[in-house]
């Protein structure tokens, strides 16, 4: 409900903010619910006094004392953050109107029914039943609990079948809401919809529960998880912002808070903000009950790539192995997800045979019905990429064919195909594939086009192929575009490595000067300097939270060592082999 307040800003100006608030519950009986009210004690006392006066007038025979209220308002919390003080009178008056309106609505009042107070006064019994007796929480239907367990075990077809079979048996509104939520969750996992259809499904489901923030938050969380898996990196961030705008974080219980910070961390990581991601994971760990090992493993698993992507391989491996040991212990199907993470670390270290062996183990153990389309696509792409690195091209193409059965909208499979052709020195084949896909303008669109990481690597590979063929002009243009694609998604490390290809292939001096200018126009050096300054501290700033027993590192961070090696080379006086050996010491693709 919207109410208008009179409030004073920090500089003394008077503001008239219109704020939104929801009365979530009210009781006068033996409810154990503690008051949750984002306001001063004086305004609260004034509200309660005013409310009790009105109710005494309406129901003189009832002994209405100490009302227990739960009010949720993001706007009231925002006022506090902005150091804006609402006048007690205006706040209390607004709240009383909102509470009376809530009571009437819960009693079945509609605006066409005439005077609200007359309506309420005539229904004392209904009022008592709703607000004076503490009704025990309705128990969830046992079959719904069973569906939930099947869902957790990733047995989606079974969960779906059981849920459909019990549709008719649902009698209470609470069970209906739970049924709808489970139906939504299973549909996300099992049905191949277009992005628009998914969005419509989410919005329709959400609209049905707007008055129930406790349920609405679950829809947000489930939909965000789904989008992450579909590698949609912009929507989770926007949805979390929408959620934060609508609801105060105080509506989250302890378990929700862990989910929220975990999702925030993943969303930050997905858009390339490793540091904010790790901050969120740390906050989730702070809120975690030490006995909740499942959540602990989930957070650890998500944090692995923040370390891995910044070349902290030992730290990433320790965290991943810890997550895996917990998941193995609890016999969780997500154990395979962690195994894939370990393969990812081996890949980045350049240990491709090891990575391939691990991924093949994942493939053998994974039950196809447990993999949602995005996971299927990802696994086979990883297998294909590792196979290309191991020069097993036939196997790679078989894996790619499997990956592409679930589509390739972001171009990850195509990029591995291009990489395969590059490794096989099939430059004409690369040219064809490039012209058919990567260079098409529609594939460069920010949200609907190919992934920026994919485009960055595709253009880098084309640049490298051009350098090998001594087509320096083409190489410069490809590499310059690649840097642009990488930087547009803040892949600073990748952009720096891409730029250095020009030097490893000894591009003639007349090309190097304009190419250096192109790099300078991107501000690459400054970005790389600042990136290293921030990210070479990951171990000291964050790792200790994951592994409190970790002592000081034996040597300086790999990121810093690489930076120092690269920074000391001179544009026109260097040994290409030395530079090349630095670049191949890790694999960023």
């Amino acid at each position: 409900m919207i109410i208008q307040l009179s409030a004073k800003a920090l500089n003394g100006s008077i503001l008239k903010p219109r704020i939104d608030l929801s009365v979530v519950s009210l009781s006068f009986g033996s409810s154990k619910e503690q008051p949750r009210l984002p306001m001063s004690t004086r305004a609260l006392a004034q509200t309660i006094a005013g409310l009790t006066d009105i109710l005494h007038e309406l129901y003189p025979s009832l002994q209405l004392e100490n009302p227990r209220l739960v009010i949720v308002s993001k706007d009231l919390e925002r006022l506090r953050t902005l150091q804006i003080v609402p006048s007690h009178d205006s706040l209390a008056q607004g709240l009383i109107v909102a509470i009376i309106s809530y009571i009437a609505t819960e009693m079945g009042y509609k605006s066409e029914m005439g005077d609200k107070r007359d309506f309420m006064q005539a229904r004392e019994k209904e009022f008592s039943a709703l607000f004076l007796s503490s009704t025990p929480a309705e128990a969830t239907h046992p079959l719904l609990l069973r569906v939930n367990a099947l869902f957790k075990d990733k047995k989606f077809p079974e969960a779906s079948k059981l849920l459909s079979s019990m549709d008719e048996q649902i009698s209470t509104s609470a069970d209906r809401r739970d049924w709808d939520l489970l139906d939504f969750m299973i549909k996300l996992k099992t049905t191949v919809f277009s992005p628009e259809e998914h969005e419509a499904l989410f919005r329709n489901s959400l609209n049905a529960v707007t008055e129930h923030p406790e349920i609405a938050k679950q829809y947000y969380f489930e939909y965000i998880r789904f989008l992450e898996n579909a590698r949609d990196f912009s929507r989770p961030q926007l949805l979390l912002a929408e959620f934060e705008n609508k609801y105060p974080l105080s509506i989250l219980d302890a378990a929700d808070k862990i989910t929220y910070y975990h999702l925030r961390g993943r969303a930050e990581y997905a858009r390339g903000d490793y540091l904010r991601g790790l901050d969120m994971f740390n906050t989730a760990l702070d809120a975690l009950d030490p006995a909740d090992l499942e959540s602990l493993a989930r957070i650890f698993n998500s944090a692995v790539n923040c370390f891995n992507d910044n070349l902290f391989f030992d730290e990433a491996l320790w965290i991943a192995e810890k997550a895996k040991s917990i998941r193995d212990l609890l016999n969780l199907p997500e154990s395979l997800e962690t195994l894939s993470c370990i393969a990812g670390i081996r890949t980045k270290q350049g240990h491709h045979e090891q990575a391939l062996t691990i991924l093949q183990e994942v493939e053998t153990k994974a039950n196809p019905s447990m993999l949602i389309p995005a996971e299927h696509n990802r696994l086979y792409n990883y297998l294909a990429k590792s196979s290309v690195f191991c020069k097993r091209y036939d196997e790679a193409y078989q894996y790619l064919a499997k990956a592409e059965t679930t589509g390739d909208p972001k171009g990850f499979s195509k990029q591995i195909r291009l990489f395969g052709l590059f490794q096989q020195k099939n430059y004409q084949g690369m040219e064809r594939l490039f012209q058919e896909s990567f260079m098409l303008p529609e594939n460069h669109k920010l949200n609907d086009g190919l992934d920026r990481f994919v485009l960055g690597w595709a253009y880098t590979l084309m640049g490298e192929a051009a350098l090998i063929q001594s087509k320096y002009r083409d190489a410069m243009l490809y590499l310059n575009d690649a840097i642009g694609f990488f930087l547009s998604d803040k892949y600073v490390l990748e952009a720096e490595f891409c730029s250095l290809q020009a030097w490893t292939y000894s591009m003639p001096e007349q090309y190097l000067k304009p190419f250096r200018e192109m790099c300078d126009d991107h501000g690459l050096k400054q970005l790389f300097d600042e990136y290293v300054k921030k990210h070479s501290r990951l171990r000291e700033d964050y790792y200790v939270k994951f592994n409190p027993e970790a002592g000081n590192a034996q040597e300086s961070p790999r990121l810093l060592r690489i930076y120092e090696a690269l920074d000391s080379f001179d544009d026109f006086n260097y040994i290409p082999e030395e530079l090349h050996s630095v670049l191949i010491s890790i694999n960023l693709m």
Partner: protein, 296 residues
């Protein structure tokens, strides 16, 4: 109403000391007028050109504190925010400068919210002209108007020695010794110091001008976006204030900027809690200002 802002600490991420940002609100012109007069008299009696705490005698500093305490007592309001240095190291996607602008805009918009015509004076140090950037800039091609000035101007010989000393110090203190372009520049500096210094100074000037323009635009946009965002959420989106931002340097002798600079410096030295040995004027100041310890 008039607002003054400044900051203390190294906001370029090179040191791990605390960071401070402060805002001052003076709602009456008469109070600002009095403050300016008091500062002028103080400078005259101590023969100083600027109010810079580190360069002042203990007696001058204490007198300044007394004037500030008196100004706060008469209705000026100061909000100081204290940040841990790690605040600059908490985002992959935002540069140090963007984080600085974000935090500064947040403080400014909080203080001006509701004021239809805020007059803002800001002594803001954006980080566009550090030596590494200047050296990078030297090698880049320049527009003709720039080339015309550079080719027709010559460094004064009597300034050469002093500038050589100044630039050496700057390069030694503020630049990564492994910087790719440094070796080239050092060779130039050794063999043709006049040319190198001249190149450095002109490039620095160019960066200052360009950087200030860009940063000011971003800063204004960030303040307006914050205010608009808050007001539109409350159905008051049409009440966007008319912003007037003047960028001041301390040597412009703007009394409001001088005061908030002094306060930021004081909080930078002491943190949120004063030592027992603090003077009575300083204790009085701390009682009247708000020092928010910001979390990351």
């Amino acid at each position: 109403m008039q607002y003054f802002f400044d900051e203390s600490g190294d906001w370029s991420g090179r040191t791990k000391s605390r960071l401070v940002m402060g805002g001052l609100l003076i709602s009456q012109d008469a109070l600002l007028n009095r403050l300016a007069a008091e500062f002028k008299l103080l400078k005259a009696s101590y023969h100083i050109a600027y109010l810079h705490a580190a360069d002042m005698s203990q007696a001058a500093r204490e007198d300044t504190y007394r004037i500030i305490a008196d100004c706060l007592d008469r209705g000026a309001k100061a909000n100081i925010r204290l940040f841990p240095p790690e605040v600059l190291f908490r985002s992959t996607l935002m540069s140090f400068e963007e984080i600085y602008i974000d935090l500064a805009a947040s403080l400014v918009s909080l203080m001006i919210l509701g004021d239809p015509k805020p007059l803002i004076s800001y002594d803001m140090k954006f980080h566009y002209a550090y030596p590494e950037k200047v050296i990078d800039e030297i090698g880049k091609s320049k527009p003709n108007y720039y080339k015309r000035i550079v080719s027709s101007m010559q460094l004064r010989e009597d300034k050469l020695e002093k500038l050589q000393e100044w630039l050496s110090g700057r390069l030694n203190q503020q630049i990564n010794p492994q910087n790719r372009k440094l070796s080239w520049f050092l060779t130039e500096f050794k063999h043709q110091p006049a040319n190198a210094i001249s190149d450095y100074l002109w490039s620095e000037l160019m960066l200052q001008v360009q950087g200030k323009e860009q940063a000011r635009e971003l800063f204004r946009a960030a303040i307006l976006a914050n205010v608009k965002n808050v007001l539109s959420m409350w159905g008051q989106g049409h009440d966007i204030p008319k912003l007037s931002i003047n960028y001041m340097a301390k040597n412009n002798s703007n009394a409001g900027v001088e005061l908030i600079d002094f306060l930021c410096n004081l909080v930078y030295q002491n943190g949120s809690v004063l030592p027992n040995s603090a003077s009575s004027a300083v204790k009085k100041i701390y009682q009247m200002i708000s020092v928010e310890v910001m979390k990351i």
